[in-house]
Subunit: 401 residues, 2 copies
Amino acid sequence: MTVDTTAHPSPGVTAAAGFQASGVVAGLKASGRPDLALVVNEGPSQVAAAVFTTNRVVGAPVVWSRQAVSDGVVSAVVLNSGGANVCTGPDGFLDVHRTAEKVGNVLEISPGDVVVCSTGLIGEPLPIGKLLAGVDDAVSHLSRTGGLAAATAIMTTDTVPKTAHLTIQGDRGEWTVGGMAKGAGMLAPGLATMLCVITTDAVVDAETADAALRAATSQTFDRIDSDGCMSTSDTVTLLVSGASGAVPDPAGFTAALTQVCAELARALVADAEGASHDIAVTVMGASTEAAGLAVARAVTRSNLFKAAMFGNDPNWGRVLAQVGTVPESVAPFDPDQLDVTINGVMVCKSGGAYRPRTEVDLAANREVHVLIDLHAGPEVVTVWTNDLTHDYVHENSAYAT
Amino acid sequence: MTVDTTAHPSPGVTAAAGFQASGVVAGLKASGRPDLALVVNEGPSQVAAAVFTTNRVVGAPVVWSRQAVSDGVVSAVVLNSGGANVCTGPDGFLDVHRTAEKVGNVLEISPGDVVVCSTGLIGEPLPIGKLLAGVDDAVSHLSRTGGLAAATAIMTTDTVPKTAHLTIQGDRGEWTVGGMAKGAGMLAPGLATMLCVITTDAVVDAETADAALRAATSQTFDRIDSDGCMSTSDTVTLLVSGASGAVPDPAGFTAALTQVCAELARALVADAEGASHDIAVTVMGASTEAAGLAVARAVTRSNLFKAAMFGNDPNWGRVLAQVGTVPESVAPFDPDQLDVTINGVMVCKSGGAYRPRTEVDLAANREVHVLIDLHAGPEVVTVWTNDLTHDYVHENSAYAT
């Protein structure tokens, strides 16, 4: 097997055969930047799968799109930035319906095969006239090299478009998985408050696509937690064109999909609002995966820990204080057996101070690696987060104004 | 019944008869500020109760003090700032033992009747020689007016000492409850990462004292959540001297104790690290108290909500996004029925925008009142928190250096 990820920036959703995409200015953003993206599956397959936020308060686009994808068939995804269309009542749902109908009419496909995604401020109605006019423009700009334009049009506070792809040349032929994602705030598991479209030209049935997408997102987007805040709009859609004719085995497909998702998830953390550090919290020696995940999430949600990281202070006491908040029923461990290693220096051994914290250099690199050994089992889990910075506070106190 | 809370500042732990206290400089703090406090119960009763953090990683003082209070008898509480004595291994526990023995020897009481509390940085050994020498000094300074000195000596990043008291003149005689508390960071339920000593000259048995203290703290300290971070050292100790001879009924005693705890808890929020707003999140229409509490805590832990409050932005979308993270099994409600009122202005009704957010003035007052109506039952719960500010990030990224 060989792997090709040489194109930089990656064309994202148009890396795989059988897809066209575009990104245009519909006028939803006051800044005048691109704000409407379209991704169209030219087939021959129209197989699709999607996963959504588990928030109980969801945008009208999520309500619509859950239904649209439920039959495993999606022909197009339309995405807008400049407004989340969340908490907008019956009118908000009507606007989603209109958007899907417009896309369906222009592309001559069923509106029920159109996934709709929106991102931006909660509680404000979309300027639907501008959006519908923008759909015409987006269709006229559709192109087999439009992936980067689409990735750019879904950005909100993102500073860079996020795209990735992977081409597999194996026994069963050559096939590609590509994707784009946006998300820089409200990043927390289930999913990482974000919009993402992934495309593939492999031949995959709906059941395999769904299982592969759930497996891939649970290991990637579900394991980044920038600020602990779960979004109302998270949507990850996988579109399968089958245009390569290659039929990968399900495990190989899941692995490739997971790799593309991991690359996009890492890009989200790297571009998180106001962050100065990307922090990998790895829990080893966990009794179960769930135990390791609970401990890792407790640490990645601590403002005190995250503020210490911002100050380049390897404050392992704040790590242990968070580890201790996890109930024994969730994660068995002995507090007197806990080890903490930060950037390769074991600062805490058996629950107490070990190497001097002055040996840890946090300032030199954006990446920080915190390793917690529970000494309670064989499982290892990593969750990525960011530090808590002045710029985070600034961006999120001034966002709406 | 009349109530006397006229003394400002309150003498705190020495407001009730039968108690002496002191606060001295033992040299544990680099700043040279007072760092050792002592509270002694002169009786005739030595009844006591205490509640502790539910963190599984706890300081040696918590391990010791849980044992000391388990028989319902405590004669003295010694508290130091300048070091938490957490994650300090067997030597740390030995230091607690030495401290209790020293206090016991000098006061001629059993070391097993001495509660020990420490607050400060985790993972550093205490300078035990200085601490033991400080005990002699603290004993020599004991006084029936020493409450404020004691409250001052337990401050860490607190900017003001926190004391409160309440005198009840009722059918059963006159009795007083007084207390002191410290805590400005690592403030989260179970308990609100803090040290607190409460004294009373009422005549109360051990069982009543324990039940009253658990009831009072569950409604007060357990309902403030400044930064979501649970401490390793939280200790609230109630000492009963019985010196007034008055025997209150248990309900009246619990009410008075709750009022003193509420006043101290409110003072902790008012002095939280770097905060510019004190925010009361009230959930009404909850099906159960637990449901209301879960929803309130979800909101008070949202960095996005707290940053919006700092920016004086009545961003109800971020409130709803947090409400939606609470599982239906915990808090039943219909997302389309949610109302949000901020400082008296209903900005969200039935899950959608209502009054314009421009009608809400957040800048004028430090206090903010957020009212969420779940329309799912009769229960009402309030949790206090603070906004997320630049000063919070600054204090907590620079704390250890």
